[in-house]
């Protein structure tokens, strides 16, 4: 088992980037609930702790909402400034002790398929503010997850009026990771779903948008749940593992996505 041999706690972003440049193999450390978990698991040999400077908390950024990457899941769940969707998604991380420590940025860095939060960030169109050495740069969450780079400093949730959203997950117990997680968002216009976004976790190496599912229903009236389940399921490619058979996950994920598409219709549209 590899242990951590070097630890640094830079006081500023500049110092952190300099440390990283000098020690490219070093891992960024935020809450640590992913990187430090498991006594018997290998740990990064070198850690750069971001706790001293990483932005924390929620704030208005023009019409958008900025979420500091150092914001804990519990802070996000408790924040009145956060969209209801994100508060609910944040509570999907079991359990309270972990939510008190785990950060939004760390969750993105871990980039796990079982994230309860990433699907919701994806359907809200989240953008990232990154530090890569030069001045902070912006990146779309979807593309960043496909090829992570730099250090996430904060997230930006654009204001998109008229959206209806819902999120959910399937877990074996309440204090489980999300075996399946999902979020949907669309505008209802003349009874049809527009700008439909569907993001799922648990069905591949990482959580992502599913354009193939979005295309099924974009611009169409909301079908019955049974219809949606029947059309979604064949497009999903989960694997058999100890958390469930591929057959079960396909069935369950389709049911979850269909349920959320119906549920979103009943939500208040975002102002």
């Amino acid at each position: 088992m590899r242990r951590t041999e070097r630890y640094a706690r830079p006081a500023s972003l500049g110092e952190a980037l300099a440390l990283k440049a000098a020690d490219p193999a070093a891992a960024w450390l935020a809450g640590g609930t992913f990187l430090l978990a498991g006594d018997a698991r290998d740990k990064p040999e070198s850690l750069i702790d971001l706790g001293a400077f990483l932005p924390r908390g929620l704030s208005a950024a023009g019409a958008a909402l900025a979420i500091g990457a150092g914001t804990s899941f519990q802070e996000l769940a408790d924040s009145r400034a956060a969209p209801a969707l994100l508060r609910r998604a944040a509570l999907g991380m079991a359990n309270r002790n972990v939510r008190n420590r785990a950060t939004v940025g760390g969750n993105l860095g871990a980039n796990r398929s079982c994230s309860s939060l990433i699907p919701s960030l994806l359907v809200l169109g989240a953008e990232l503010e990154l530090a890569e050495g030069g001045p902070p740069a912006a990146a779309g969450l979807e593309s960043w997850l496909a090829g992570p780079r730099g250090l996430v400093l904060s997230l930006r949730i654009p204001a998109e009026a008229g959206r209806r959203s819902a999120c959910g997950r399937w877990a074996r117990t309440a204090c489980d990771l999300s075996v399946l997680s999902a979020a949907v968002s669309y505008r209802l216009s003349a009874g049809a779903m527009r700008d439909l976004r569907i993001a799922l976790g648990g069905l591949g190496p990482r959580a992502r948008r599913f354009p193939e599912l979005e295309a099924l229903f974009e611009g169409r009236p909301l079908p019955s749940r049974e219809d949606m389940e029947a059309r979604i399921a064949p497009l999903l490619r989960p694997i058999d593992d100890l958390r469930g058979s591929a057959e079960f996950k396909r069935f369950r994920a389709a049911a979850l996505a269909a349920e959320l598409l119906r549920a979103a219709a009943g939500q208040e549209a975002d102002a």
Partner: protein, 975 residues
Amino acid sequence: MKVRFTLNGKERSWDCEPGESLRDALRRHGIVSVRDGCGGEGACGLCAVILDRRAVNSCMVLAAQAEGSEILTVEHFSRDRELSIVQRALVDASCVQCGYCTPAVVLALHSLLARSPEPSEAEVRDALSGTLCRCTGYEQFFEAARIASRRIRDPLYAEARPVDYRPELALVGKDREKVDAAYLARGERAYVEDRVEAGACHVALLGSPHAHAWVVSVDDEEARAMPGVVEILSSRNCPDKVYTTAGQGFPEPSPHDQRMFPRKVRHVGDRVAAVLAETPEQARAAAAAIKVEYELLRPVLSIAEAKAPNAPIVHSGEVSYVSGEPPAGSSTAGDGRDDPVVYQFPLHADPHRNLAASAAAGIGDVEAGFAAADLVIERAYKCNRVQCTPMEPHVAYAKVEAGRLVLHASTQVPWHVRRIVSRAIGIPENKVRVIKERVGGGFGAKQDIVVEDLVGYLAWKTGRPVFLRYDRAQEFIASRTRHAMEIRVKLGAKRDGKLTAILMRLEADTGPYGQHCLTVPMNAISKSLPLLLCDNARFEVSSYYTNLSPAGAYQGYGAPKGSFALQTALAELAGELGIDQLEMIERNRVGSGARIEILKSLGEGREGSAVTLGECGLGEMIRRGREAFGWEEPGAAGRRAKEEGDWRIGRGAVIIQQGSGLPGLDAANAELRLLADGTLLLLSGGADLGTGLDTVTAKMAAETLGLELQDVTVISGDTDLTPFDKGAYASSGTFFSGKAALLAAEDLKAKALAAAAAILGEPASGLALERGGIVAGKRGRITLAELGHRSSQGEGHGELSGFGSFKTEHAAFPYGAHFVEAAVNARSGEVVVRRYHAYQDCGTPINPSLARGQVHGAILKAIGHSLYEEMLYDQEGRCLNPSFLDYKIPSSLEVPEDFRVEFVPVADEVGPFGAKSVSEISVNGAAPAIAIAIHDAVGAWVREWPFTPERVLRAMGKLGGALPASRATSSRHSQ
């Protein structure tokens, strides 16, 4: 590196390694209340601290990250001798059981009350969601939170006390503070790991990566030369003898088939080598440097594979019998290579066919019974392997003192540890002293000698103090699990529901070794079949060796499985006959005055005899359940199919039973001394594993001698100081150990009266012992304090001491009726237990709230194996989920909304103050009751536990085929 922070109000500056967790740093500095139950996965929360006002798991925080922070541990709330408002509430709510998680609960609730002084129940559940507890079922934690919250406003607030079950008695039948609760709530040193001294050596185990393989060679030359290595053991240099690790009475009904290090490894995690070194890191490094050559064998991974004609043989050594003859036709000649198998007496075994034990018997004529039936059904049920997961894993600390081996153990069976360890090492029993420390959860797993043999031998051989503590993964794969079982039930009945014949055919998977191989499956029969009265009943039991994780005892023993199969089958039959399932129970159940003929064939290895039951409380229990669940309301017969969106609501009811120890086999002893200050010293052989047994025995003494609980000091489970007791298993604690304490107290009382008579000059027959410990005669009075002082100074016969020894042929059966309301999502297969009522007869509840906590805890464990828990294996026999990440036990968020325990006491004529057992029985009801409720809700029978959504959907026909028995792929991080 230096780390500076504030710990419990004091500035600290510690040298820490860059990668050291805050948990490890705190423990290194003597804060032992910060514990570890999950191996740093962040799943159990036992290492919780309050870091900058928030409860976090200190395993996932580097000490270095705490720079400049404020940290609180339970020690902050444990100043002086006072208890904090939360600690006091936990003690008053009787939810300090084993105490291992209590400091974490204290922190979680203080943190909650600081942000929300009047929390909702949802907030309380959420606050506790990070803390796993296996003892309490969480329900009384919720009560403690309520009490603490009320006391913020009203410091004198007290909950209304429950029913006083014995108004004529001073202590028995009412709640008193559990004798160890306060110091456990304070987080004091109490467990084995807290006894380890500086200079102790540490053991690293090298476990087999293969399920079945010859150990061809072990090359430890390089490892021996590594820094800090003290000793290395393997099959080459360990004692050459076999023993059983089952902590049962001698001669054990389990084969002696386990060598300290086997020549052939029989499961993944089986012992290959052990390194003793100065530090844990050195031991691990040396273990990794040992080179082992294996010769791989095909593993046996299921009962079907074990029975197959050309099956690989798990035990191929010579088979012999200490007494009795080998069964006719069985094979005994060994292959000259494998370790031998020694049976103490015949168990109808044939190890060379993988048959570890078998039995068959019955009453009447089942074939005639089936022929006479109007309807016959046959159903098969499957119970998958589950793990007890005590929050404190197996642990032992041994050292040699004054030429003797002293073993600090976390065990349910100190006397069996003493015997088995001394024989394994090859030293006289009187060279071994076993001291049972506070046990951080046992649940049956600690009835076995899982680590004490090795730790004891290493200490004896090297003379060094030796410490070994399993990590969570080892606890899963190399301690003990509940036997997997497949049970076929055939029932015949008349149209009116009256049973004409019962046939139970049970096959058990005992794993690589034979501990409890016959007694667990037999218990599945003996605690289920006698609930139903039927003239024709038969059972056939077979127990097979496999190469999966070792099986053993787990609360309820075999009963939860037999109960699941038989009670569910009865409900299935009721459905076929169009009879309400509860009515079906009523038409066939045992009741007051019933003659239980089947007990003739269930004699625990001896000739059994039929029993005529006295009063039985089942009728009243069922009446209460019917009323609470509105059983007779319209639509009650058959499916109710109440709908709430996708959810269908169903209900189920079952009756259950257990025993109270093993009549004719078990024995318990106790000694009670009157000290010179007038207090009592109770020396009890009993092993309190968090259940409150020490409180029960103390009450026996205090009640009988007219004193208060605080006047009794209990020393228990120390083989040098306390008399023999069989240990805590088979539901024997209150009934046997409690009764022994009561007999000792009665003996002391008689002696005290005799001594007082001499002093007062009055006949003893005219004296009475009054409350307050005063002997009152017609002419004079003398206190026990005065009596203790004078007798200890040599007056009369000297210091007064009473002795109690208890053994009985009397069987005391506790009964219960459990009612469940479950919501089943017809779309997703999810099952939520909304209401769970347990009506329970434990005779007189000695300490009602502690008894209630036993029931809550047992039920939640059973909800766990019914809905969530299952050990999964791949096709090589590797356990895929040996951690709480993927083996899910219930948290505070799985507790039923309406979770009620009511006692319906039927006093036992022999039990102490009428008491019977209480804890184990309550594990038996959840699986069948939930299965019946699922059927009531969605019309599908799920016959394999756990009833996961996937299995429910398959039973409903929404998914095709059956779930594969083993999983081909594993990937904890992929999907």
